[in-house]
């Protein structure tokens, strides 16, 4: 007979099996796989070998049942067509995994579905939830907080008791955009933004408009339905007389640039984006933009989460992600 024994088909190997084979009690097996438990090196040795031979692995679900905690963290995300989301999700999940959490990813595009999906999470007693969705689940958040489940909102508006948030420094971003455009020689400014969906984008818009007033420049708000490539593309035809534009995100800015290019007037108008998605650096766009570092943002979010796991009763906190200008060709 060669190779490790196979457990009987379909029957999972349990700590009992290991205990039996190692000639010890189940408690000994448990302790052998629990950090900082008191087991003699010899018993542990026996247990570990038996476990390996049987292909045994601790059932974390059962363990969690006793400890009253699972290592799961819900990640709610909407608008995955925006490349920035992909970066966000990558950073968040990597950060989570690094700290030994298991991210369960829940796409929630169509508003109502977010409720249903978050509701599901309660059944798995996740030890926390991260929300990057644009569509606010408002009331549901309170329910989580009430259930004692830490929840962190990323770039969202609602200030809810016991719900922490991390938001980008939109104020600085708006100012930076205005200053950069003006410095580049723009006189007639505009900002393209969806009035409905994204809270954080509206904040940037407001900061931008204020800054333009302060700099004594004309500024127009060009409303679109959604901050996406498509709508940026379409907005290109609404820019008569404008010579400097702030796009509230790069995704839309790429559309705008392509739209202007079709009209042959790309170079005559300065553009600043926001997010610094990979495409902004692609030389077809070479977009001057404001970086929102989603790696530090992920770090902040997860930090808030674990800190509230340790101390659930503390008052809600607001963390601000710093932004910075990335100078490229469009301004």
């Amino acid at each position: 007979m060669n190779g490790p024994e196979k457990p009987a088909r379909g029957r999972k190997v349990t700590s009992f099996d290991v205990a039996q084979r190692a000639g010890v009690s189940r408690a000994a097996v448990s302790r052998s796989f629990t950090p900082n438990a008191s087991v003699s090196p010899e018993t542990r040795e026996k247990v570990v070998r038996a476990a390996k031979e049987l292909g045994y692995r601790v059932n974390y679900l059962a363990r969690g049942l006793i400890n009253r905690r699972s290592d799961f963290v819900g990640v709610i995300a909407a608008g995955m067509d925006n490349p920035y989301r992909a970066m966000q999700i990558e950073q968040i999940t990597k950060n989570l995994v690094r700290r030994n959490f298991k991210p369960i990813l829940l796409p929630a595009d169509h508003g109502e579905s977010a409720d249903h999906v978050m509701d599901q999470l309660l059944h798995y007693n996740v030890s926390g939830v991260l929300v990057t969705s644009d569509a606010p689940p408002t009331a549901l958040c309170a329910e989580f907080a009430a259930a004692g489940v830490p929840i962190v909102l990323i770039n969202k508006a609602d200030t809810i008791p016991s719900v922490d948030r991390v938001v980008s420094d939109n104020n600085a971003a708006g100012k930076l955009a205005a200053a950069t455009l003006v410095e580049a020689g723009a006189r007639k400014l505009a900002v393209i933004v969806s009035s409905a969906t994204s809270y954080t984008a509206r904040c940037r818009q407001q900061a931008f408009v204020s800054a333009c007033y302060a700099l004594q420049r004309d500024v127009r708000v060009i409303p679109v339905e959604y901050n996406s490539y498509r709508h940026g593309l379409a907005a290109a035809s609404c820019l008569d007389g404008v010579d400097g534009v702030f796009c509230v995100n790069d995704y839309m800015a790429c559309g705008l640039i392509d739209g202007l290019h079709r009209q042959g007037g790309r170079d005559s108008i300065r553009i600043v984006g926001h997010d610094d998605i990979p495409q902004a650096a692609w030389s077809a766009y070479d977009l001057t933009t404001i970086s929102q570092p989603c790696d530090v943002q992920a770090e902040q979010a997860v930090n808030l989460l674990v800190s509230r796991m340790d101390e659930p009763a503390q008052p809600e906190r607001l963390e601000v992600t710093p932004v910075s200008l990335v100078r490229r060709g469009t301004a």
Copy 2:
């Protein structure tokens, strides 16, 4: 007193609490939340009300302990910088959630980490695993199969007993690319491809080269380190004498186009990409490409998964995702 009662801080409300408040047994509570269970409408009514008042929710983890199954499905993904991955992950997770699974997303970029991460999954007895990573976990897959965990590989090479796969129709893609370039008037062909990482990309390359021979055209293979934007950009300087290029993915093709543009020679050379990422349709690129529909691919993968969950012993299967040409400006 108004509003729903709050459970004591920190103490989760259990089926026992509900049973007590509704004046029934715990079994009755259980049945009230189990589809197709036999409960009288009245008891269920009482139970549901009590549950609502207490904020009770069934603990699926405990339930899974009995049923010997969790609703979790592991999703291993690498190379999230490629926009195609983002689409893939979105489709996969949406599909999973629609069928009431909970996708746990595990980023696994650096080869070795994939092993560790997949190993973790065994502890949560997931009911299946989907792998889209470029780096093959080879031996580990067998371990999963042995443990009775269904596992489906997307666009990967290894044929392992009991491990199902879904791969894109790379043969058709290669032929299609060659035919399209030739039809567009190309005489000196080339294919840009990483020789190390992606199995599926190498298949496309081989099919392409064969098709070029069949069409009696010259063809060169231009090797790069990784099929990414950066390397596509760099490859632009290796194309002397070539007038038709097949990029094994769009991500790299975007880089190539930008690279050629810098040299001022974009229009003189025909290009076909693969995947049909959103950026391929962006008018800065307007890339003729071969669509690999990741929504149907996700559907295929999940189908394979559930079918093996129902019937674990069946022989491994191979499903092919159909591809189709999307004509745009570059060919």
